[in-house]
């Protein structure tokens, strides 16, 4: 895979066109959307952006390293649940829950005849520990799964099926263990974060900007990983795994790392989702949401970091507006999108941009957006597309 040579004005891990792309996205999210959308719609965008974290993780994991995980909803859910547990404990203070048989525990535990806070919930009395848990619990889980599988050289299709099974297992477990997890309704009725009411419009706007800030930080992290030596090994591994192994690299460890990174990114998205939407439920964990998250990435372009963000926004926007006006048509649309993105434009929106728009924009910007050079010796499995700016 070609990236531009270090001599072409590249002093930093971002190439000029990447910086332009990120700046355009930042302006769009920070200035244009808040000014043009009302509060209600802006909160929708905020919700979509939390899925963009997952899409970002999938670009690294699936697009660059070639590991398709159909269980990213698990990590999104774990992050979301960690945050929801903290908020729920704060909402169920002794004063708020006087009428329960056991005051001071979440209401659904009281309904399920649990009389003291389970050990699993204890750490979530502390915000610092909660934030650590949001990032580390999913990473640890990903580590266990990834280590067990990649060390035995399980990959590709089998990995996808097993991660999908994990998503199914976690959903059934959450729904079944109502007393500990809130069951099918999830954890609802979240009120304050350290005394700050998160349900007001002002708070939601602030949370939107926090979410945008975190997303941009994560995008920078993704670019850093992509341009580092690690990123190049990931791509090499995807294209010719055996050659990388014979060159002396421990392929499994790199895979485990990128899988854990994707898990943590998804979990940050999940935590932001809980904060902005005000609840978390198993319907964001299972097979269907997990595979929908893959389609966001595929629509945006599995090789494009910024493309995945736009893909997420676009698919979700289409979903909301379609299901408002023609609820029956949405599944046709989504299904058609799955098929079209695979058969017709496998590199997603970013691929279309690079083929049709970027070459014409090139001359306008003094050649910063160079025409994508088709790389000669690439696997047919993943059509080559050097990531040029979106």
């Amino acid at each position: 895979m070609t990236t531009s040579a270090p001599t072409s004005g590249r002093t930093f891990f971002l190439r000029p066109q990447d910086m332009i792309g990120i700046a355009i996205l930042a302006v769009l999210l920070v200035v244009i959307l808040p000014l043009t959308l009302d509060n209600f719609r802006l909160q929708f965008v905020g919700k979509y952006l939390t899925y963009a974290f997952v899409a970002l993780g999938l670009v690294l994991c699936w697009g660059y390293a070639g590991i398709l995980s159909l269980g990213q909803g698990v990590f999104f859910g774990l992050g979301g649940y960690c945050m929801a547990m903290f908020l729920k404990l704060e909402a169920s203070s002794v004063a708020n829950t006087k009428i329960q048989t056991t005051p001071g525990i979440p209401d659904f535990m009281d309904w399920n005849q649990i009389t003291e806070l389970p050990l699993m919930w204890q750490p979530f009395n502390n915000l610092g520990l909660t934030i650590l848990a949001v990032i580390l619990v999913p990473a640890l889980f990903a580590f266990i799964v990834g280590f067990a599988m990649f060390k035995r050289r399980v990959g590709g299709v089998y990995f996808a099926i097993i991660t999908q099974a994990l998503a199914a297992i976690l959903t059934i477990l959450i729904v079944g263990q109502q007393g500990y997890t809130g069951g099918i309704n999830g954890i609802t009725d979240l009120r304050t974060l350290h005394g700050w009411d998160i349900r007001t419009d002002a708070a939601k706007t602030i949370l939107y900007f926090v979410c945008v800030g975190l997303l941009i930080a994560c995008i920078l992290l993704a670019y850093y990983v992509k341009s580092s030596k690690l990123g190049r090994i990931l791509v090499a591994m995807r294209d010719k795994e055996d050659r990388v192994r014979f060159s002396g690299y421990d392929v499994a460890s790199f895979k485990v790392f990128v899988f854990c990174l994707a898990a943590s990114l998804s979990a940050i998205g999940g935590a932001m989702f809980t904060l902005q939407v005000g609840f978390m439920s198993p319907s964001f964990v299972g097979i269907v949401p997990s595979i929908e998250m893959v389609i966001y990435t595929a629509v945006g372009g599995r090789l494009s970091i910024l493309g995945a963000i736009y893909g997420t926004l676009l698919v979700n926007w289409a979903k909301t507006s379609f299901s408002e006006s023609f609820p029956e048509l949405w599944l046709f649309g989504l299904g058609g999108l799955f098929i079209a993105v695979v058969l017709i434009f496998p590199n997603g929106l970013a691929g279309l941009w690079q083929t049709y728009v970027a070459p014409r924009l090139g001359p306008l910007f003094g050649g910063t957006a160079k025409r994508a050079v088709p790389s000669p010796a690439s696997e047919p499995a993943v059509p080559a597309a050097p990531a040029v700016a979106e």
């Binding site: 399980v154 299709v157 089998y158 097993i162 099974a165 297992i169 058609g336 098929i339 058969l343």
Partner: protein, 308 residues
């Protein structure tokens, strides 16, 4: 958990749950057979497999309605005709899918997964629009109702027995087709070495299309059998797809014997545990067990040694 029951009670519990497990086993085997051919032999991940099954179930439902209204005297045998129609309908849809979609994707197995998932969403919505969101059930002919007593406390339902018999018959037929007929030989040759198979004069594209059609057709028959023991809704197929994939992977993707053995293990484990634990915990423990075993032994239970 066993201490509350006497030994005699325990043995009947195991018998009853064992029989319930055998019905689940039949459904698993019927679904997994088609998938084992499509995934195990062709390497295509067909996420719409459940929807092909449901198509068979709806065809059976309609045939039963037709017989009920126009040919009530022949109602006793409608099921056999429905089964053939279900096979033809699902098989035809499968061949159309292969021609329009799958054949462009043989080199990209992960993408077949996404594309067939899209197909499954579209089919679900089609079923919902055409047949309505409610679940439908068929009426059983009178000879299939009731149950046979085995001991004083244990009895087995006739429809369950019938489904089991059907499963055995179809499994034997598929095994004969794959391992004894010349067509099965061609399929296995294409799977092992596509280029060489083409070079010796096998029409690989045609073999692919018919193999995919056969897998989908068996799914249709599975749906047909499924109506005997449960009702059918637009999303019923999706409930089984993960279990079925685990069955196929757990058995060792290329071995029919492995598929049957793993369907047996998974269904028996699940239905036995269901009696002692809640249904959801039984399912969690079963799936988790399978996933852990797959992590330790990724190639599955049975492996066919092939030089690559």
């Amino acid at each position: 958990m066993f201490s509350d029951y006497s030994l005699a009670e325990l043995s009947s519990i195991f018998l009853m749950q064992g029989f319930a497990g055998l019905i689940l086993f039949s459904v698993f085997v019927l679904m997994a057979l088609g998938l084992a051919i499509i995934f195990g032999q062709m390497g295509v991940i067909n996420m719409a497999h459940g929807e092909f099954m449901i198509l068979g179930a709806y065809v059976t439902y309609f045939t039963s309605q037709l017989f009920l209204n126009y040919l009530p005297s022949l109602f006793g045998i409608y099921f056999f005709i429905a089964m053939i129609l279900a096979f033809l309908a699902s098989g035809a849809l499968g061949m159309a899918t292969e021609w329009l979609m799958i054949r462009h994707l043989y080199k990209r197995p992960l993408d077949t997964l996404l594309a067939t998932w899209g197909l499954s969403l579209i089919l679900q919505q089609v079923y919902r629009s055409v047949f309505g969101p409610r679940e439908v059930g068929v009426e059983l002919p009178s000879w299939m109702m009731g149950s046979l007593p085995v001991t004083e406390v244990v009895e087995v339902q006739i429809n369950g027995l019938f489904v089991m018999g059907l499963t055995i018959a179809i499994t034997v037929a598929v095994a004969l087709l794959m391992y004894k007929s010349s067509w099965g030989k061609q399929v296995r040759a294409v799977v092992q070495n596509r280029v060489m198979a083409g070079a010796v004069g096998i029409n690989t594209e045609k073999v692919d299309r018919y193999t995919f059609g056969l897998g989908c057709g068996i799914a249709g028959v599975a749906g047909s059998a499924f109506t005997m023991i449960g009702s059918t809704g637009p999303t019923s197929g999706q409930l089984y797809i993960v279990d079925t994939f685990l069955v196929v992977v757990f058995g060792g993707a290329q071995s029919l014997l492995g598929t049957i053995a793993s369907a047996f293990t998974i269904s028996q484990a699940q239905s036995t545990m269901e009696f002692f634990l809640s249904g959801s915990m039984a399912k969690v423990l079963t799936l988790l067990g399978v996933v852990v075993i797959l992590m330790l032994r990724p190639q599955g239970l049975f492996v066919i040694k092939v030089r690559r």
